[in-house]
């Protein structure tokens, strides 16, 4: 995998109380590293509080990391970016209800961006807006509408058009279809897959829905409490989950044809509070295979093409 977009030991802590000298920290990301090959769809999956959204916000420049670094083609990518760098990474958000400015028509929103970044000369702005609409399969008369008069699916398509307006190379999608019905979700996913293919973009797809990740992502990283516990090709991770948490996730996800019992183990208890910093492996409290070593030492990602951060991964430590 040629390292195009690299994330090295990225950490993000939010102070949520205590005093200035001894702040109580919410450690959202705990030294996460990953590499995204150009032109692929990289999935990040995990439950609430695992830090996947924080990762998305750091990549898109909305949140500043407290440690580690993000780089694109070797050039660091922080919160303060030049306008060219800014255009290269764009984002689509989760909630169609609040991701578009309710007081602005679609045309005003798009033309503001096109004008500000001088993407097209002034006289070409209207045509560009129409092109963007057709690109996201929306009727051009929707340009005059305000978000209030559009359905959930239509609003997400407009959000995608907004991202495309800046002709980005990387699209970060933070649970774009979570708020949509299945029938509408399918059309938005098809649209995204089509755009990635046609425009050769790279997409980072954040989701809690394993079925959707399975369907559209090439690689996937499974996260738990701010750490990456397993990373690899989607096919391998989903058919042969080596980390007990990934295994538990596969067990918990309801599926159309029931799976033979015993294939996967159910998880006990609940996820610990992110404020508590747990020694060793954070998952040991819920892990059926937890051993004494897990309590003291936090396992690192190991393995060749399917990395797993566990002392007792399925299929041994060298697969």
């Amino acid at each position: 995998m040629n390292a195009w977009l690299k994330v090295e030991n990225l950490s993000v802590d939010f102070p949520v109380g205590g005093t200035r000298r001894a702040p109580v920290l919410l450690r959202a990301l705990r030294s996460v590293s990953l590499e995204v090959p150009k032109g692929t769809v990289f999935g990040v999956v995990g439950e609430s509080g695992c830090g996947k959204s924080t990762l998305a916000r750091v990549l898109s420049g909305l949140t500043a990391p407290t440690g580690g670094e993000v780089s694109l083609e070797g050039v660091p990518l922080g919160m303060h970016r030049s306008s060219i760098q800014r255009r290269r990474v764009q984002m689509v958000f989760q909630d169609p209800g609040s991701s578009l400015n309710p007081a602005m028509t679609v045309r005003t929103m798009l033309s503001q961006l096109l004008r500000f970044h001088q993407i097209v000369p002034k006289d070409r702005i209207e045509d560009r807006c129409r092109e963007l609409m057709t690109q996201v399969n929306m009727p051009t008369d929707a340009l005059d509408r305000k978000p209030g008069n559009l359905s959930g699916g239509q609003r997400q398509r407009i959000a995608i058009a907004r991202a495309l307006a800046l002709e980005p190379e990387i699209l970060i999608a933070d649970e774009p279809t979570a708020a949509l019905d299945v029938s509408v979700q399918a059309s938005v996913l098809n649209l995204l897959q089509g755009l990635i293919r046609d425009l050769g973009m790279t997409m980072i797809f954040i989701s809690h829905d394993m079925a959707v990740v399975r369907r559209i992502c090439d690689h996937v990283a499974v996260m738990y409490l701010g750490r990456i516990v397993e990373i690899g090709k989607t096919e391998h991770v989903f058919t042969d989950p080596r980390h007990p948490y990934t295994n538990a996730l596969m067990a918990a996800v309801p599926r159309l044809n029931p799976v033979p019992a015993g294939e996967y183990q159910m998880l006990k208890a609940e996820q610990p509070s992110p404020l508590a910093n747990i020694s060793g492996c954070a998952f040991r409290g819920r892990c059926p295979k937890a051993g004494s070593i897990c309590a003291t030492q936090n396992p690192d990602l190991a393995g060749k093409n399917q990395l797993v951060a566990c002392h007792f991964p399925k299929g041994g430590t060298d697969a």
């Binding site: 439950e47 609430s48 359905s151 699916g153 019905d181 299945v182 029938s183 509408v184 979700q185 399918a186 059309s187 996913l189 098809n190 809690h208 829905d209 394993m210 079925a211 959707v212 399975r214 369907r215 989607t234 096919e235 989903f238 538990a248 996730l249 596969m250 067990a251 918990a252 996800v253 309801p254 599926r255 159309l256 044809n257 029931p258 159910m266 998880l267 208890a269 609940e270 996820q271």
Partner: protein, 321 residues
């Protein structure tokens, strides 16, 4: 299995509309002891309103129209007023666990209040009953947790408390309105297991409403698929999933990404569900259905039995697109 609940011709109407407009119904529902009936449908299909109509706790502006509701009481079908059902025969579990608990009261007091309401025991006794109920629904360290305020608990724990309140009423029927939609998948699995254990333990009848087809497949014995306020197909879940007859059911399954199959393109369903104010006289799915013919637009198909033990409301049921 012996019957528990029998609803016929249930209809929900818009309160002040001049011409009667009913976004939901008419529809029939039955539930047997120990059975789990799954109702699945997309947004706006009226699945959640149906549940609320049973206990007549409909939101503002909606009223329960026609329809009879009978419940099995010591072997006899009786038709009680909705008021008598509430908190006695039927319990309700809502979607947003946080919003279901009064934020200004401690958890122990909330449950205690329900226990006192139905058993009339003293305040002290209701406290111990409450702690016992918490243990029954798998809340760790119930004595301490009883003193917590709702906002100090996780989503999963709050949902368990809501379930314990239903148990406090010794309900025989549990109406679950998307109880796990707001929870993580691992927690959802735990809640679903809890419901299943309680069902076996108390012989409860459960009506489980959700938009998640895969979840329904996993837990429901019988399924109803709702679209635009009507049941379009119903029957044992294995049969429905093996050979869906109604075009809408088939389209849903085609649009659903399943964790097993990784390839093949998802087929979205074009268009959007109709607005109740302008329901067509014919089949309400006709506008989006590939098989729609003039007949579909002229009259509304009613649920008919099929040879596979299911029922479907479509003139062209079973025809491949």
């Amino acid at each position: 299995m012996s019957g528990l609940l029998d609803i016929t011709n249930l209809r929900i109407d818009l309160g002040q509309a001049r011409t009667p407009v009913s976004p939901v119904g008419p529809l029939d529902l039955t539930l047997d002891v120990g059975e789990c009936l799954g109702i699945v449908g997309e947004s706006g299909s009226g699945k959640s309103l149906t549940l609320k109509a049973i206990l007549d706790v409909l939101p503002e502006g909606l009223v329960r129209g026609a329809g009879t509701l009978r419940v099995m009481e010591q072997g006899k079908w009786v038709e009680p007023a909705a008021k008598d059902l509430r908190g006695r025969k039927i319990g309700l579990i809502s979607q947003e666990p946080g919003a279901a608990l009064d934020p200004l009261m401690r958890v122990g007091d909330l449950i205690g209040e329900i226990v006192r309401l139905h058993s009339g025991c003293s305040r002290a006794e209701s406290k111990t009953r409450a702690i016992d109920l918490l243990r029954q629904v798998g809340v760790p360290d119930p004595e301490k947790r009883a003193t917590f305020w709702p906002h100090e608990l996780s989503g999963g724990l709050k949902q368990r408390i809501v379930i314990s309140m239903a148990l406090a009423c010794k309900s025989e029927i549990l109406l679950c309105d998307e109880p796990t939609t707001a929870l993580d998948v691992t927690i959802q699995a735990q809640i679903v297991d809890l419901l299943r254990d309680l069902q076996k333990q108390h012989g409860l009848g459960i009506i489980f409403v959700t938009h998640d087809l895969a979840l329904i497949r996993q837990i429901a014995d019988r399924i109803c698929i709702m679209y635009a306020g009507l049941i379009v197909e119903t029957g044992p879940s294995a049969e429905i999933f093996k050979a869906p007859q109604h075009p809408y059911t088939r389209a849903l399954l085609a649009a659903l990404p399943d964790i097993e199959a990784s390839s093949g393109n998802l087929q979205p369903i074009e268009g959007t569900p109709p607005n109740p104010t302008d329901f067509s006289v014919g089949c309400r799915f006709a506008a989006r259905c590939a098989l729609a013919t003039e007949a579909c637009r002229a009259a509304r198909p009613l649920l008919e039995k099929t040879e596979r033990g299911t029922m479907v409301a479509c003139f062209h049921a079973g025809v491949a697109p």
